[in-house]
């Protein structure tokens, strides 16, 4: 066993250890956040065949297990990104939808270049920017170079969506590693994401926020009609023209929930009403001004995803241009939103919103903790809460017997500055987290790898 560990340790830092992890694995005497139950100051977890076999304060360790000494280590369920484009090679970071944030280091939120320019849309019938049928599960690949950075931050899984258009497509929950793309998929479709895109006049309809809203509304009316037409036709085919097949609506009908963008308080109000009007289960994402809407969110009983890309003072600005009070308050208070939602027991989770380096991800979560989110709640917000919102909490998101063996093992408390990620397990396989990618590099330093550099696209 010790020899195997030594071999693993000598392996190239960036190498993925493919299916070579001896099974079972036991992490012994570690500080364990089960998330679903009690925090174990000193516990043991056993993994076998890709699942969690046992967890507790006193657990029998199988004789053939590879034992990792958990002294001084902390074990959490592998973090799950609540909304991302991880795993889809070539996808730009997910768009925020509402106010563009000014976070330093964020890659510019330009839409990815399309291979052919879309024809000018003359109205809703042209189904402008409607990629309802794009399926994240079809697009994910372990070759996405960004995955390394995510794993280095302790993420084992993510909710991932394609990211073009107003209706971006059917998302999936994936593991951030696998032999082939299809092995990464845990569940799909888990939703349809909407991004508001008031395009240029020359690209046609829609060209405004209200155009986007009218279009989404029309799509759902069309979906309703599509379903009813089918029902009626199936019951009474005689005398009725057969309904057309519509692949946009077919895909839309598959989605169990709609993701709607809402960053500012009036956008939150608007989308709460709009989601209810569409009569579909929905989730709001963004939420930076949510600190004024905690009660309303509680009452509405709608789950929300809070973006980790906190609004910040832009690096470059004219000192004579003083920001508005509202903007200053937003920058001050946005990080407190997760803590407030947690205290009010509003269902929420966190998402990366395009942050794609391990140190930045960690710092972003730390900022929320410093602003009032309890450390254990922070772990939950990136594990079980995500799983609950997307309906997969029966199989992942906590360290419980029978759940998928996705774990992150850290030295130090989760999200603290000096904490390092030592081991990452995905489906019970050890994925060595890159130490290099966990280090903070000054911008532009030679040799610093940028995780979002994708050298190739490609599927599966």
């Amino acid at each position: 066993m010790k020899l195997a560990c030594a071999v693993a340790a000598l392996a190239l830092p960036l190498a993925v250890v493919n299916g070579q992890t001896p099974s079972p694995v036991a992490i012994k005497d570690a500080h364990i956040f089960t998330v679903s139950g009690a925090e174990l100051p000193k516990g043991t977890v056993v993994l076998r065949d890709g699942l969690i076999e046992d967890v507790g304060a006193n657990v029998t360790i199988p004789a053939d297990a590879w034992i990792i000494d958990g002294t001084g280590l902390t074990v959490c369920p592998g973090f799950i990104d609540g909304l991302s484009t991880w795993g889809i090679p070539g996808a730009a970071p997910v768009a925020g939808g509402g106010r563009p944030a000014g976070a330093p280091g964020a890659t510019p939120a330009a839409a990815p270049a399309q291979t052919t320019p879309a024809p000018r849309s003359n109205g809703p019938e042209d189904r402008p920017q409607t990629h309802t049928y794009e399926r994240a599960a079809d697009l994910v690949s372990p070759s996405d170079h960004r995955l390394e950075a995510a794993r280095a931050a302790g993420f084992t899984s993510a909710v991932t969506f394609p990211n073009q258009g107003i209706f971006e497509g059917l998302g999936a929950i994936i593991n951030l590693a696998g032999e082939r793309g299809r092995d990464m998929v845990i569940m799909q479709p888990i939703g349809q994401q909407v991004v508001i895109r008031p395009g240029r006049l020359s690209s046609g309809f829609p060209n405004s926020l209200m155009g986007n809203i009218a279009y989404i509304r029309q799509m759902y009316l069309d979906l309703d009609q599509y379903k009813r037409a089918r029902e009626i036709y199936d019951a009474h085919p005689g005398g009725n023209r057969r309904p057309e097949y519509d692949h946009y609506l077919q895909a839309l009908s598959e989605s169990p929930r709609l993701l709607l963008p809402a960053v500012e308080e009036q956008q939150i109000d608007r989308m709460l009403a709009f989601g209810a009007e569409l009569k579909t289960p929905f989730v709001l994402y963004g939420l930076h001004e949510g600190f004024t809407r905690v009660d309303q969110l509680k009452q509405a009983n709608v789950p929300v995803l809070v973006s980790l890309k906190w609004p910040e003072k832009p690096k470059e600005s004219d000192p004579a241009d003083i920001p508005n009070y509202r903007e200053l308050v937003l920058r001050q208070r946005a990080p407190s939103v997760p803590g407030m939602l947690s205290k009010a027991q509003v269902r929420f989770a966190l998402y990366s919103d395009g942050i794609d380096t391990a140190p930045e991800l960690r710092k972003a979560v730390k900022k929320a903790i410093d602003a009032g989110l309890g450390p254990a709640d922070a772990v939950r917000a990136l594990t079980l809460s995500v799983a609950e919102i997307y309906g997969v909490s029966d199989r992942m998101g906590s360290i419980d017997k029978g759940k998928i063996a996705n774990l992150v093992v850290m030295r130090g408390d989760p999200f603290e500055d000096k904490t390092t990620v030592e081991y990452v397990f995905i489906d019970g396989q050890e994925m060595k987290p890159s130490k290099e990618l966990q280090k903070e590099h000054p911008p532009g330093a030679a040799g610093a790898p940028h995780p979002s550099e994708n050298l190739e696209g490609g599927q599966n």
């Binding site: 563009p100 510019p108 330009a110 470059e316 600005s317 004579a320 241009d321 508005n324």
Partner: protein, 439 residues
């Protein structure tokens, strides 16, 4: 007679159209005179001889051959002045063919608004009908930013002219052909970050933008320096001296005869403009400022006057108090700065009295507001000895009103420009008359 026709007829009579005086000498009797530079005089007369004010207040009868106008107890004010317009140079702003503003080129001091001033522009009569007897007509619109529509933009747009609102040709109408040198002072223009992200623009650093700004300022001061040396070379009559139309046009600026009309909206720009004027030793007027900040003492100590833009504006920033643009004129006044009003446009040049009134509603003493339309304007433009008040010896630009001309309710009844009565008809009144007669 239909109600409409009756009203129109009454209107025509009120205009005094049937009683127009055809000469530039007149005795206006039975009015309350508002000299502006002296206390009001009720029940008085003003005698105009050969276009100039000869007597104020006296009850003496008219000299022979001089028509008498019965003022009917109305009010006599100096003709109002608008210190910044594009009247005559722009007809319909959406139609480029009808607009003569913002010529190409970084430094265009030789361009003269005067000669492009269209005496047949409909805007002249329309402006006049609100009691305005003269305006500054500027060759720049203030919107010619560097980089827009690809190019360097403009720093010096040309010479703004003070023009009477009546005449057959621009020669007739020109009071002071080169009253000011229109300048778009370089400003630091940083695209706010959210638009950079939204529009996918390259993010520039403040240091870069500031450096560009300083370079542009340097080019400007270099140009003035070249003009100074040109003047010396010319005076020295050097054998190889070659005349240069641009530098030639700068000589009056070097001599302090024509001030730079510096459009500077932000506090920083105002301060930089004052420092620039010190360095290059030229006279300046600050034009269309949007804030004062702490620049008051600087302006006062340098005796730099200000031509204010519209009072009816929105505050610069969301957090600014709602009445900030309304109180801005009084801020300048309280800081001891000499102010007058301009509208920096064409179609609302006629509303400059209301801009002044709004300033008076929000803290500027009423009399100062009136001075900002009359004597202050004249003095700032260097014609204070001839215009801006009802005083003996001055040019007889006068308006007869039934009340305070800064009130919209007031009617402007009659107008005299250089002593000659002018019609208050315009395109607007002609449409009114014609269509009122539709059966």
């Amino acid at each position: 007679m239909s109600r409409i026709a009756l009203t129109a007829a009454a209107f025509l009579v009120a205009c005094g159209a049937a009683m127009a005086v055809d000469s530039n000498s007149v005795l206006i009797q039975n009015v309350t005179v508002h000299p502006v530079t002296a206390p009001d005089i009720s029940n008085a007369s003003v005698l105009v001889i050969d276009g100039k004010i000869a007597e104020v207040g006296s009850k003496a009868p008219a000299p022979a051959g001089v028509t008498v106008v019965d003022g009917q107890g109305l009010h006599l004010y100096p003709g109002l002045m608008n210190a910044a317009t594009n009247v005559g140079l722009s007809e319909i702003s959406a139609i480029r063919d009808s607009v003569d503003l913002d010529e190409i080129g970084l430094f265009n001091p030789e361009l003269r608004a005067e000669i492009a001033f269209n005496p047949s522009s409909e805007h002249i009569a329309v402006t006049r009908a609100s009691g305005i007897t003269s305006v500054i007509s500027l060759p720049g619109s203030g919107g010619n930013f560097a980089g827009l529509a690809g190019g360097e933009g403009t720093v010096i747009s040309g010479q703004g002219a003070l023009m009477h609102m009546e005449g057959w040709t621009w020669e007739d109408m020109a009071i002071k052909p080169s009253a000011v040198m229109d300048v778009d002072f370089p400003q630091i223009q940083m695209v706010p970050h959210q638009f950079v992200v939204l529009l996918g623009l390259p993010q520039r650093t403040f240091a870069d933008v500031e450096r560009e700004y300083k370079e542009r300022l340097d080019r400007f001061s270099d140009f003035i320096e070249r003009a100074r040396r040109y003047k010396q070379a010319k005076a020295a009559a050097a054998p190889d001296f070659k005349s240069d139309i641009k530098l030639e046009a700068m000589i009056p600026v070097i001599d302090g005869k024509i001030p730079l009309f510096v459009r500077a909206s932000r506090e920083r720009a105002i301060k930089d403009a004052v420092a620039f004027a010190d360095k290059t030793k030229v006279k300046i007027i600050i034009a269309d400022p949007l804030e004062l900040g702490s620049a008051g003492p600087l302006l006062k100590s340098h005796n730099i006057p200000v031509v204010l833009g519209k009072t009816f504006e929105l505050p610069l920033r969301d957090d600014d108090p709602y009445d900030t643009p309304y109180t801005l004129p009084s801020q300048f006044y309280k800081a001891g700065v000499k102010i007058c009003f301009g509208t920096f446009d064409t179609e609302f040049a006629r509303n400059v009295p209301f801009e002044a009134a709004q300033a008076a509603a929000f803290g500027l003493p009423h009399d100062e507001a009136l001075k900002g339309l009359t004597i202050n304007t004249a003095e700032i433009l260097g014609v204070g000895d001839q215009f801006g008040s009802i005083e003996k010896g001055k040019v007889a630009d006068l308006i007869l009103t039934d009340g305070d001309p800064m009130e919209a309710r007031t009617n402007i009844k009659r107008m005299f420009i250089a002593g000659r009565e002018v019609s208050l008809e315009s395109r607007h009144t002609r449409e009114y008359e014609k269509w009122s007669k539709r059966p």
